[in-house]
Amino acid sequence: MRFIELLSTYGDMYVEAAFATWWMTAVSFIGAMILGLMVTVMRVCPIKPLRVVGDFYVQVFRNIPGISMLILVAYALPYLGLVLDWVPCVLVSAILICSAFASENFMSGINTVGVGQIEAARSLGLTFTQMMRLVIIPQALRSVVPPMTNLLIATMLTTAIASQVPVTPPELTGVVSYINTRMPYGVLAFIVPAATYLCTSLLIGYVGNKIDQRVRILR
């Protein structure tokens, strides 16, 4: 009964929260892919300083805790003259962290190709660009589907840091404290967001698996 009461009072809020989580996840993931790709290009290019910066970038952002990152962006950057709104703070933090993991995934995707095929491409007389376009990138992209599926789920979980700054509407994690500070619904208030997270990750995992089955390269 209390569950129905909860839903009738806060149902809209849960829906809004779910959408907030979803769109922040989507934007962060897309941003992370783009940035991760750029970092990867830096890391594989033959220009040493760019490589060093790329490697350094990845080590910093894959190892920094999400909360620590958010705090720096939200509370330290303003002291350095850069003030962002709360939502952009969350997005920037998530994108920085997840792009480091995206780059690691891209790198391991490139690694699956192997030196042999690179030499074979060269021996056929393919130029560097042709080799990248026809041999390396297609294989790297196809082998990167499972880790990127995991990363998409991880990105969603990372957006939970938004609960630490005043974001309106609150996303799925923030909504728990929002509701519970007003009405003590106890476990009930927790169940809806948890189920939403869970279903979303299961769905992402399922779709990722299907895509992987279609594009997987036999080896």
């Binding site: 594989v44 033959p46 220009i47 040493k48 300083p49 760019l50 060093v52 910066v53 894959r62 190892n63 920094i64 805790p65 999400g66 909360i67 620590s68 705090i71 720096l72 330290a76 002291y79 350095l80 003259g81 962290i97 993991f101 995934n105 790198m107 490139i110 690694n111 192997g114 030196v115 690179i118 060269r122 560097f128 990248m132 499972p146 880790p147 995991n150 990363l151 789920i153 991880a154 990105t155 979980l157 990372t158 957006t159 939970a160 840091i161 609960s163 994690t173 728990v176 404290s177 519970n180 003590p184 619904y185 476990v187 927790f190 967001p193 948890a194 997270y197 869970l198 990750s201 299961l202």
Partner: protein
């Protein structure tokens, strides 16, 4: 055949440059180096013009008391991470065992719990213990409010790692054990697990990074970890940027070292890291 030690793939993408390419690379390297230096200079300049380079923000790090306080917090982080790690190992083992069980409902429950732990942010678990549990009259110590969520998330990941490890044990080994008349439990305990552990140790160590990251959620429940103690310092010295920066660097270095260790052990024992990637929140 007589090639030297295998180059990393990113070097193999390029062939030995000819003279023209070499010149181009030298020029590009020069330009890139200058740009990187300019970038660093701009960042430092930004610190300078906003007054963040003022000694008052940094001198506190020359004091022993500051470090002692941070160290106390760091120990809090390690304590929580350690306990969470142990719990996650145990929980992961139980979940893995459940997933390989003969009894269908047990398999389902284990599967559901694993997915639940893996698919829900640790922060939400923190809120569960921090906000939800007190409403039903259960009040916990802040240590557990942070350690249990970290352990739950990691247990889900550990279960997957263990499962991958057990699956990596050659089928022949299990058959051999069966032909010796070993029971299923005995086979698992004496044959599969010991070998699986060798496969999974490096990956488990790398999972420790996630646990360490999760302990920063102590921020929410005011458990005295590194980050939380940093906040106290900030309040005392009014030095937010420098303290948060130093703390972030400590976390990064710690996690970097954990990763390094796991890769080193993986290389030494010749096993691959298992990908159950999950970034922390």
């Amino acid at each position: 055949m007589s090639a030297p030690a295998v180059k990393p793939i990113r070097d193999s993408l390029y062939e030995q440059p000819g003279p023209k390419t070499r010149r181009r690379i030298v020029v590009a390297t020069g330009i890139a180096a200058v740009l990187v230096l300019i970038g660093i200079a701009l960042i430092i300049r930004q610190f300078y013009i906003t007054g963040q380079l003022d000694p008052k923000y940094w001198l506190l790090f020359t004091r022993w008391t500051t470090w002692k306080f941070l160290l106390t917090g760091f120990m809090g982080t390690l304590k929580s991470a350690f306990v969470a790690g142990v719990l996650a190992l145990a929980g992961g083992l139980i979940l893995m065992w459940g997933r390989l069980s003969k009894i269908t409902p047990v398999r389902w429950v284990a599967r559901a719990i694993t997915e639940f732990f893996r698919g829900v942010p640790s922060l939400l678990f923190v809120y569960f213990f921090f906000i939800v549990m007190p409403t039903v009259g259960i009040k916990m110590d802040s240590f557990w409010m942070i350690t249990l969520p970290a352990a739950m998330s990691a247990a889900g990941a550990c279960a997957e790692v263990f499962r991958a490890g057990v699956n990596a044990v050659p089928a022949g080994q299990v058959e051999a054990a069966k032909s010796l008349g070993m029971s299923k439990t005995k086979t698992m305990l004496l044959i599969q697990l010991p070998q699986a552990i060798r496969f999974v140790v490096p990956t488990l160590i790398s999972q420790l990074v996630i646990v360490v990251k999760d302990t920063t959620l102590a921020y929410v429940v005011s458990y005295a970890d590194l980050l939380q103690n940093g906040r106290v310092l900030i309040a005392n010295y009014d030095a937010l940027v420098s303290v948060y920066l130093v703390i972030a660097i400590i976390y990064i270095v710690l996690n970097y070292l954990i990763n390094k260790a796991s890769v080193a052990i993986a290389n030494r024992s010749g096993v691959k890291l298992i990908d159950v990637s999950k970034v922390s929140s």
